[in-house]
Amino acid sequence: MKLVTAFIQPERLNAVKQKLFEKEVFKMSVTNALGCGQQKGYTETYRGVQTEVNLLKKVRLDIAVNDEFVEPTIDAIVDGARTGKVGDGKIFVQELAECIRISSGDRGTDAI
């Protein structure tokens, strides 16, 4: 089992969700986040004081999948989120040691 974590542009969330559904990845958790990558930020002025805003709004996706689903999941996210510009986002994959469904107590690959 793997945990796929992606940071994407907020406005791509719906597209990514759709692509994931097409690959039959239905479960996920979403959080908002601020991110700092290659993408440079923008300048705000508040009452005459300039501020460089380099923490940009992103959406974080956490998707736990069985190993055979890792590549389809990655493909779906890239598919939905890619515009080819910096700031499109980043995907991280981690090992998942265990997974438990609280309602049933199921464990492991069945519980994903």
Binding site: L13, T43, E44, K57, V59
Partner: protein
């Protein structure tokens, strides 16, 4: 930014030059000395006559003061509708555009005031020989002391600002700020006052009468003159600008783009409700018992509109939708604005109820059929309900019954179809004038300084793009919205 700067500078330079030209005029017009008191009469009859004259004059001057207090306060209430609009619009749209909405509302008030001062008031209430536009009283020249015109002006300027601000909500979230500023000046300075002349031109000076009022058109407090005007201008703006990104799916289905704060929107509606008593009852510009009657019809129509819109939405969507109910309140109030002086309390309830039903259907029609994106329902609430309210004058006008005139003009009260015809002419004239000048205005803007912000800016929000700041600093906002 450059073309805009030019536009703004033009406006500022008009403001800067004008005083010079009028200072002299004002100097000349310095208040004449009060007429000398009547000389002491030797004869009893003369004494009595003098006293009688004094009593009559006293009656006039005291009632005038009562009217001034009433109309002044009513004007302030109407001014207070401005934050009502601002909160309603902000609440019904997304957090990322809230600063832009606030700025538009500050600026349509500020620029609208100056444009109406320099130009609009004269076009609307100045002397006219043709009934189409006036041509005296520019920048209030010649008015001094405790002249009624001041109080009248303050009441009228907030009406002009209301007409201008209606557009703001409809184009929320996608309209270039600079283009909005120019549009606002044009609306409050020219488009609104010219139609206003036609229907209300004689309110200040007898020599100011417009052609439409001459035919007997009734619009007591401005369902057509203010609200439809704003609504149809908003329609033109929205058609020229197009919908927000994501409002319609690729197959043309409208998508929900929920507003970011229902309490803010509701606060806005309550503020508008409050201010509307200045709008309607204040339009008597007379401090006497009729203001009470107008307040009653206004209250009943608002109640009817709210209830009817809620029930309509409930029946259609299965739940009592709060945003439709909010529009229902506004719809009821806009509907009663024209007939508030001439209908019975029951007439007011019915007018409001129909307004409340209509606003829901109009919103759905615009969105589903015409594919028009009006985030706050301004076109429906002001345009459609404004037209309905104006028509309602011709249907429910019960002047004789309510004691506001000699004969009922309403079709349902034995007044025949004549008034309906006149009302329809007025409604039509308003639509043609507002929609046509609106299209010209917004197309002109589109082909010069542009009316669209970039797609990136629209997605990121106009607050960052246009104003370089965010509305809710420190709050985590879930930003796919």
């Amino acid at each position: 930014m450059r073309p805009i700067h030019i536009a703004l500078l033009c406006l500022m330079s008009i403001l800067a030059v004008a005083p010079l030209s009028t200072a002299a005029a004002q100097e000349a017009a310095a208040e004449p000395a009060e007429e000398a008191p009547a000389p002491p009469a030797d004869d009893t009859a003369e004494v009595i006559a003098a006293l009688e004259a004094k009593v009559t004059e006293l009656e006039g001057s005291l009632q005038n003061n009562i009217n001034i207090v009433w109309t002044g306060i009513a004007a302030f209430l109407v001014l207070f509708m401005q934050p009502g609009f601002a909160m309603l619009e902000a609440g019904f749209t997304q957090a990322k555009n809230a600063v832009n909405i606030m700025m538009k509302n500050f600026m349509d008030l500020a620029i609208g005031t100056l444009a109406f001062f320099v130009l609009g008031f004269a076009l609307m209430f100045g002397e006219t020989s043709n009934g189409w536009f006036g041509s005296s009283l520019f920048a209030l020249s010649g008015i001094t002391g405790s002249d009624w015109t001041f109080t009248f002006w303050i009441f009228q300027v907030v009406f002009a600002a209301t007409a201008a601000t209606i557009v703001s909500g409809a184009v929320a979230g996608r309209f270039k700020f600079t283009a909005y500023l120019v549009a606002t000046a044009a609306i409050a300075g020219v488009i609104y006052p010219i139609f206003g002349k036609w229907a209300w031109g004689s309110l200040l000076l007898d020599e100011g009468a417009g052609w439409l009022e001459g035919r007997g058109f009734i619009d007591f407090a401005g369902s057509t003159v203010v609200h439809s005007m704003g609504g149809w201008l908003a329609l033109a703006a929205v058609l020229v600008r197009g919908p927000r990104l994501g409002k319609f799916s690729t197959d043309g289905n409208p998508q929900a783009m929920p507003g970011h704060s229902n309490p803010l929107a509701a606060l806005g509606v309550f503020i508008l409700f409050f201010g509307w008593f200045g709008f309607n009852a204040g339009s008597t510009t007379t401090g006497d018992g009729e203001l009470g009657r107008v307040a009653v019809t206004t209250m009943l129509a608002a109640a009817g509109g709210a209830l009817a819109a809620m029930i309509t939405a409930w029946a259609m969507f299965g739940k009592p939708d709060a945003s439709m109910t909010a529009n229902g309140v506004i719809g009821g109030l806009v509907s009663i604005t024209a007939p508030c002086y001439t209908v019975t309390p029951w007439g007011a309830v019915i007018t409001g109820v129909i307004g409340g039903v209509l606003v829901v259907f109009s919103i759905l029609f615009l969105e589903r059929v015409l594919k028009v994106d009006d985030p706050v329902g301004a076109i429906s609430a002001h345009g459609t309900c404004g037209a309905w309210g104006t028509l309602a004058c011709g249907l429910f006008g019960a002047e004789a019954i309510v004691g506001a005139g000699d004969a009922n003009t309403g079709l349902f009260y034995g007044g025949g179809a004549g008034q309906v015809g006149i009302q329809l002419i007025g409604i039509g004239a308003a639509f043609v004038w507002a929609f046509a000048t609106g299209l010209i205005l917004f197309f002109a803007l589109k082909s010069t300084i542009g009316v669209r912000v970039s797609e990136t800016e629209e997605l990121e929000g106009l607050d960052i793009g246009e104003h370089g700041m965010e509305a809710y600093s420190g709050f985590q906002i879930f930003t796919t919205q």
